[in-house]
């Protein structure tokens, strides 16, 4: 509804105010008069009237234009979808800072409160409120347009949108910190919207696949005490077969549609698919996983990708080869998981003193308490 109002008024702040007023009015009226037959249409209409009132009060802007806009189409699923897409591209406009894009998407597309966003993005609420206000002002004053970019601009703009949606997903899908299923569901919903806009776009197929294959593990990722469970130890019967099935199908389509230049999201999803297809950790096709990491390194090479590849090498070729691969990764001396990987491989090689030193190095680095606690548990398991 907010997305529709933004299209009608062309003003994010105004649309937000109008929707909020309409919601308050509904809270007053509906318990007394009963819920209208078409609650959505009622809310949209009420919000539009409110927007017109607000515009008249400002009188600087043409209220007539908003009045003239047809509102009856605003309940058609297609219009709702298009309005949401427009707003998504506005929120992810490259003229806005990346952290602002995510915050704005959470606010206007996912309906989170400022406090909830501040908590999700680990920013003080006052800072977040200021950031959102500045973003709304910039959209209005610099006239960031509300529209889905033209076809020739889409590939460029899509990259930023996908990065923001994926960040939204990972904020909710954090395997160590607090899980926020609402963010995961919103990210998946927005990715599906993008797929409707660009049905054959490999990176959209890949991102959706990656999200579904990761989300399929949601229930298996915590033990009864709420502690995170590593992929190797998860009860795979608790993975959701429907999401695994859809994800694998999407990976296939994504690969078919990107035969020449591998897409980073499709490749990451292919790695997730290797895990999803394996009945157990030991039965994983590690040769395939290592190959996919090799491909990923060519299109989106980072030290962390190299570290993950090294972990797969350890499973394929044994701990000595894995350790050599881990130690060949440069630039992760300040990354606790690099030390943790070394520690676990040293344990498997029987070097208890070396492992202890590596654990100490991992735990001495600054990191979130939840992550440190998990590393301590892993260190404990190694010591036994």
């Amino acid at each position: 509804m907010l997305a529709t109002l933004v299209r009608l008024t062309g003003d994010l702040q105004l649309a937000e105010d109008a929707v909020q007023d309409a919601t308050l009015r509904a809270l007053e009226r509906w318990p007394r008069d009963g819920v209208p037959a078409e609650p959505r249409a009622w809310l949209t209409l009420t919000a539009r009237r409110r927007a017109v009132d607000l515009l008249r009060r400002e009188s600087a802007r043409p209220a007539k234009e908003v009045l003239a806009m047809p509102v009856d189409d605003a309940t058609e699923p297609e219009t709702v979808r298009d309005d949401q897409l427009r707003l998504l591209f506005t929120c992810c406009h490259p003229a806005l800072a990346h952290e602002t894009q995510v915050a704005l998407a959470l606010k206007v597309l996912c309906g989170l409160s400022v406090d909830e966003i501040a908590e999700a993005l680990v920013v003080p609420p006052e800072t977040m409120a200021k950031r959102l206000t500045r973003a709304r002002q910039k959209i209005a004053r610099a006239r960031i347009p509300y529209r889905v970019p033209a076809d020739h601009e889409l590939p460029d703009r899509l990259r930023g949108v996908l990065a923001t949606v994926y960040l939204l997903f990972t904020e909710g899908d954090d395997p160590i910190g607090e899980a926020r299923p609402a963010l995961v569901d919103e990210a998946v919903r927005l990715t599906r919207l993008l797929r409707e806009l660009m049905p054959g776009e490999p990176s959209v197929l890949g991102l959706l696949a990656l999200e579904l294959l990761s989300d399929a593990r949601r229930d298996a990722r915590r033990d009864a005490a709420g502690h995170p469970v590593l992929l190797a130890d998860q009860d795979r019967t608790r993975w959701r077969p429907d999401l695994v099935g859809e994800g694998i199908e999407l990976v296939g389509e994504g690969l078919r549609r990107s035969p020449d230049v591998p897409d980073p999201y499709v490749v990451q999803a292919a790695i997730a698919a290797c895990h999803a297809l394996a009945p157990t950790w030991a039965d994983t096709d590690w040769a395939a996983v290592v190959s996919w990491y090799d491909v990923l390194l060519t299109v989106a090479g980072t030290p962390v990708v190299a570290l993950n590849r090294a972990a797969a090498v350890a499973e394929r070729d044994g701990p000595a080869a894995g350790l050599a691969a881990v130690e060949a990764v440069v630039g992760l001396e300040r990354y606790p998981l690099w030390h943790a990987s070394r520690a676990e491989l040293l344990t498997r090689l029987g070097d208890r003193a070396g492992a202890r030193r590596a654990w100490d190095a991992a735990l001495a680095l600054p990191q979130e308490e939840g992550r440190a606690a998990q590393l301590r548990r892993r260190a404990e398991v190694c010591r036994k």
Partner: protein
């Protein structure tokens, strides 16, 4: 239609010197290509020619001048345009064709419309 100031930050040099003929030509080409939406603009002499003016004690107070620009930065304000564009996307597209953006930066700022 909204207007945008395109503030050009680039090398702090004397653009009238013959070694910058190519740049001058590039700017002339930009001026022609963007003529339909240009509402004004100017190239500026280097910051060594700048004088910064302050009035101490507010309006009517002592005029204090300093030799040089208001802020010393590596890239200096060397010119500006006033553009009339439908939205930020169009303004950014135009700004990217200003030669100053190719080896410096162009700051695009919306102009306040006081409705006058």
């Amino acid at each position: 239609m909204p207007q945008y100031a395109a503030l050009i930050y680039s090398r702090d040099v004397d653009w009238t010197r013959p070694e910058f003929d190519q740049e001058t030509k590039d700017y002339a080409e930009f001026g022609q290509a963007a003529a339909a939406i240009l509402r004004g603009g100017a190239a500026l002499y280097q910051t060594a020619t700048a004088t910064t003016v302050r009035v101490q004690g507010g309006k009517g107070g002592d005029i204090v001048t300093t030799d040089g620009p208001y802020a010393e930065t590596k890239e200096a304000l060397t010119g500006f345009y006033l553009l009339e564009c439908s939205d930020l996307d169009e303004a950014v597209k135009v700004a990217a064709t200003i030669p100053g953006a190719w080896d410096g930066a162009v700051e695009v700022r919306p102009v306040i419309d006081f409705g006058g």
